[in-house]
Every structure is written in structure tokens, then in C-alpha cells.
Amino acid sequence: MKITELFFTALRSLLTNRRRSILTVLGIVIGIASVITIISLGKGVEKATLKNLQASSSGKQSTVVDYYADDLNSTASGFEASDLALINASQTSFGLVKADIVSDNDGSAESEASINGADQNVTVKLLKHPSSDLEILSGHNISQNNIMLADPVALISKKLATSFYSSVNQALNTSVTINGISYQVIGVFKEDMGLDDVAISKTTYERSNNGEAGNKLKLTFNRGENVSKQTKKIVSLLNKQGSHHLQGSYEHMDMGAILKGVGSVINGLTYFISAIAGISLFIAGIGVMNMMYISVSERTQEIGIRLAIGASPKSILLQFLLEAVLLTGMGGVLGFGIGCGLAWLISLFLPFRAVVGLESFILAFGVSAIVGIVFGIFPARQASKKNLIDILK
């Protein structure tokens, strides 16, 4: 019989026993679905972290070096123009495209300010947009116009206002000097949970700072550079010759290493779930074997008839083997679908999207087909070795 005809014959008898087929294949569906779910999520994490942490949109890779002063109250910036000069002097040997000092630290900076004639270390909130989070107690907020025009205006906290002036209102229209620029206080805000003392426009602050001082250094490398290794070299150079190497230390958090860590956790999880799925598949395979044995014994007459009218033992074997493989294969495809759905559903609650590749499909289908072959071959052999004369008696 042609293999396509055998295929239809096998499909036909599976559909005749629809409920039994579905129940038998359930274990395979569950096993495959769980493996596909974890693999898809693992790939999603991998892709997302690679995208977020390494290459910029232009394909260049960047790292960040931080400066930590030994004196925690120090407001001195760890990077200065001399550090840039130091690094740029050997720019090519590091494979660097550029090095930039980043003045702010997630929208705030430490600085020394002069208020009412007294010096004070303050945390400065740098506004890119007018902030609606700040509750203004007196005066008015910094407007979009102020930010666009880089007006030297500032908001100060109630705490700061009351410690330097007799009342909140007294602080209005006074001035705060930060980095040599005098800012007019136009409002006082309530410092709820925030640690900020002063809020000013970021553009104004950066103008005064000239982008030449800060506690972060952003390094951008050529594509293909070993960024982790090169950054380490720069860090050790800075720790020997950097402008503030005596007052603090320059450090680099290696995202590559962290990524590896995350990856290995996911890998471990994948192995664990694969092991469970493997047991599930094994048990499901035994279920398939059991069902096929029952099927073979129920269909003894059919086998006898087929043999009598000219089926070769080989085509009987193939028919039953195909039934088993078709059963598990369909379970695999179904499990793949459910796994994809589940991974997608789970990733709705996670900061990344699950990734399903063709290789996942091949894995699902391949594994389930192999289960079908391994557990279907013995019942199929039994079917093909039936004694024709005994059956037809």
C-alpha cells in the first residue's frame, strides 16, 4: 500500500476512537506544552536582555563606569574633563567610539549649593519636563517655557526653605546658587517621600556643568569589541590615574556577567522542567503503548482480513506504527500550540515577550514522533506477527 494511503488508514482508525485517542495523548500534550512554554520564555528573556543591555540602536555597544566617593557626603564629581582627555588619549587602543560624562544619576545630581549665604550639600532633581508629581506649597511650578528657555529658576523643598528662612513664603524670590549659577526660587514643594532638596531645569543645569563633570561615564564601543574586557582596562586606568582616584573608586557593573547569570538560572529551570516533562512523556508513551496493544487485540479480525486480502506483514506494521506516531505527533503539535499560548499569556505579566522559534516546533514534533515510534513499535510488531490462520478460523 502506498504510504499516503497507509497514512489515511491510520488517521481513520484514530478518528474512529476519538475519545480514547484524545485521552491517551493528553500526557504528551502536557509534557510538550510545558517544555515549549519554558523554552519560549527563556528565549524571550535572552532576547530582551541582549537588546536592552548591549547594543544601541545603531548596533554599537555601550557600558557605564560609575564613580563612588569614599566620603559618602562628598558632592564632588568623579569624572572631569581631564579624565576624558586621559581616556581619549588611548581611544583607539580601547576600540572606543566615544566617552561621555553623564552628569545626572537617573534624573538627579548631588551638588553644593549656596542658600542665603550658607553652603549646603543638596540633591538636585533635574527636570526634563514640568513635574506634576511635586506638590507646590507656595509660589508656582516650573513651566514648560522655563525648561525650554533654560530659565535659571528653582523650586526648593519645604525643609530647605524653613531651615534657611523664617517661613515658606519668605523663601520665594530668593536665590540658590548651584555650580556658579544663581537660580531664582519661584516655588516651594512638599518633600513627601522624595529625597530631593532642589528642582531645576535639566538643560539649565547641564549648561552650567558643561557636561564635564559627573559621576557616570558612558563608553560607546565599536561593534564587535569585547566591551567587558575593554571597560575593565579603562576602569583600572581610571583607578590609577583618574582625577579622583584618591578620594573614591571607579567601578563597572558588568552586564555581560549579569546576563550570563540570568541565563544560567533560566537554563537550570529549563533543565528542571524538561526533566519533569520527560517523565510526563515517558508515562504518556506507556499509555500510548497500552492503548495500541488494546487496539491491536481488539482489531485482530481487521488485521486478519487485511492480511487475507493481500496486506503484507510490513504494511500492517507500518499502519499501526503510523497510528502511534500520528497520535503522539498530533499531541505534540497540540502541545506546541498550547505551550505558545501559555508562554504568550505569561509574558503579558512580564517585562518581555516570549519568543517561539521554528526549532521549538521541530523539537515538539520530533520528540513526540519519537515517543510514538519507541512506544508504538512493539504493539505494531505484534499486530504484524499475528497468525493469519488462527484469526480466520
Binding site: M1, K2, T9, G304, R306, I309
Partner: protein, 227 residues
């Protein structure tokens, strides 16, 4: 066409070795309608199992169309059954979850034809046994006589060298039996089909041309029926 020479067959039953066929020799020519008669246990089923290539374990010589059957492999036997024999059994032996048309077409699939190319042949052979328009039904939806005609259609579809009918009327009432036997006679007369029929009923056997009687594994008599 069929030539058996000193055929012997033993069965192992427990510790006992049973001698079922004893030096059976016979010849059947193309176009004959032969009835094989004998009581149960006489060895007639064993004999037709060997003739019909169902049983390959025997001693002696079986030549089919001049070719020795001794050295054939199991898959050769499968091919011989498919191409040369049309089986008709007492209890029809149709596959219950396949439609009538699928049952009839099955030997062609095993001969290597494609499902979509055999519809015409199936319809033709169903017409030849007076069963038009039942192809889509399941065997259980038909009467016994109709089911046996489906089985005959299945036996005829590969245009086999001979039909082998084992008690073909054993499960049918006398009226339906007459119809089936008439069909065999028609096939034998019109299409010159060779028919070998096993029966224990002389009323059935006398409709054939030649009756071979078997008793205790030996051919007791072999003579033509006087018409």
C-alpha cells in the same frame, strides 16, 4: 493452474503431532467450479488455507501456474493472495468501520493503487453483484445476503485467478443462499471464473461441476457432478 503433489501437513497440539493432510494430490484447471466437501475436522479448511496461500507451512509440492510455492517468502505470499485469490468467508469478514466501497476497494490499495483512482472499478464490481448505490453505507447497515455480495465484490475486484469460498452460504437463510450460489454459477459461466468452494451441504455442492470429498485428511472421492 493448481497442482498439489503428495501434500502433507502436521499440527502440533500439546505433545501430540496431528497428521491433518495425508498425501493429498489434486489438480484444478482454469474455469472449474469445484466443491470441497467433508465433515468438520476432515482437513478441508487446512487444504484450502494452503491452496489460498494463507498457510505456507506444509510438506510436499504446490505448484501454482507452474511455479513452486515452497521457496516463496511471506511477502510473496501476501502478493500472491492479493493478486491471485479472492476470498469469500462464511461470516463475510468485512471491516466494520469502513464503508462498503472502502471494503471493496481495499485489495486495490494493497496492490498499490491510489484511493482516488479506484472509484470507477469499485462501482463496476458492485454493479456486477447487483449492489448499486450502497457504496457509502457501512456493512452493518446491509442484510446478510448483501454483505456476502459485498465480500464477493471485494474478492472479484483484483480480477483474481480463482475465488476461494469457505462455507459462503453457512450464515445465510436458504433463499439468500440460492441467490449467492446463483451469483457464483453466473460468474463461473459468464466470466469463466475459477471457483473453489468449501461446504458440508450436498445441496450446495451439487450446484458445482466437481465434488472432492475429504475424510480424515485424505481425498475420499473426486468426481464430476452429473448435470
Amino acid at each position: 493452474m493448481i497442482r498439489l503433489e503428495r501434500l502433507n501437513k502436521f499440527y502440533q497440539q500439546g505433545d501430540e503431532k496431528i497428521h491433518v493432510l495425508k498425501d493429498v494430490s489434486l489438480q484444478i484447471q482454469q474455469g472449474e467450479f469445484v466443491a470441497i466437501m467433508g465433515p468438520s475436522g476432515s482437513g478441508k479448511s487446512t487444504l484450502i488455507n494452503i491452496i489460498g496461500f494463507l498457510d505456507h507451512q506444509f510438506m510436499g509440492q504446490y505448484r501454482f501456474k507452474g511455479e513452486s510455492m515452497i521457496d516463496q517468502s511471506l511477502s510473496d505470499y501476501a502478493r500472491l493472495r492479493n493478486q491471485n485469490v479472492g476470498f469469500v468467508f462464511q461470516n463475510f469478514k468485512l471491516i466494520s468501520n469502513l464503508s462498503v466501497a472502502e471494503n471493496v476497494g481495499l485489495p486495490l490499495l494493497y496492490a498499490g493503487h491510489r484511493r482516488k483512482n479506484i472509484a470507477d472499478q469499485v462501482n463496476d464490481v458492485l454493479s456486477s453483484v447487483n449492489l448499486q448505490g450502497v457504496g457509502a453505507k457501512l456493512p452493518m447497515q446491509l442484510s446478510g445476503g448483501q454483505q456476502q455480495r459485498v465480500a464477493i465484490a471485494r474478492a472479484l475486484i483484483t480480477r483474481p485467478s480463482f475465488l476461494l469460498a469457505d462455507e459462503p452460504t453457512g450464515a445465510l437463510d436458504s433463499h439468500t443462499s440460492q441467490e449467492i450460489l446463483k451469483l457464483f454459477i453466473d460468474l463461473n459461466h459468464k466470466s469463466r471464473s475459477t471457483i473453489i468452494m468449501v461446504t458440508h451441504d450436498f445441496q450446495v455442492a451439487r450446484l458445482s461441476q466437481r465434488i472432492i470429498r475429504i475424510l480424515d485428511g485424505r481425498i475420499e472421492s473426486d468426481r464430476s457432478v452429473d448435470q
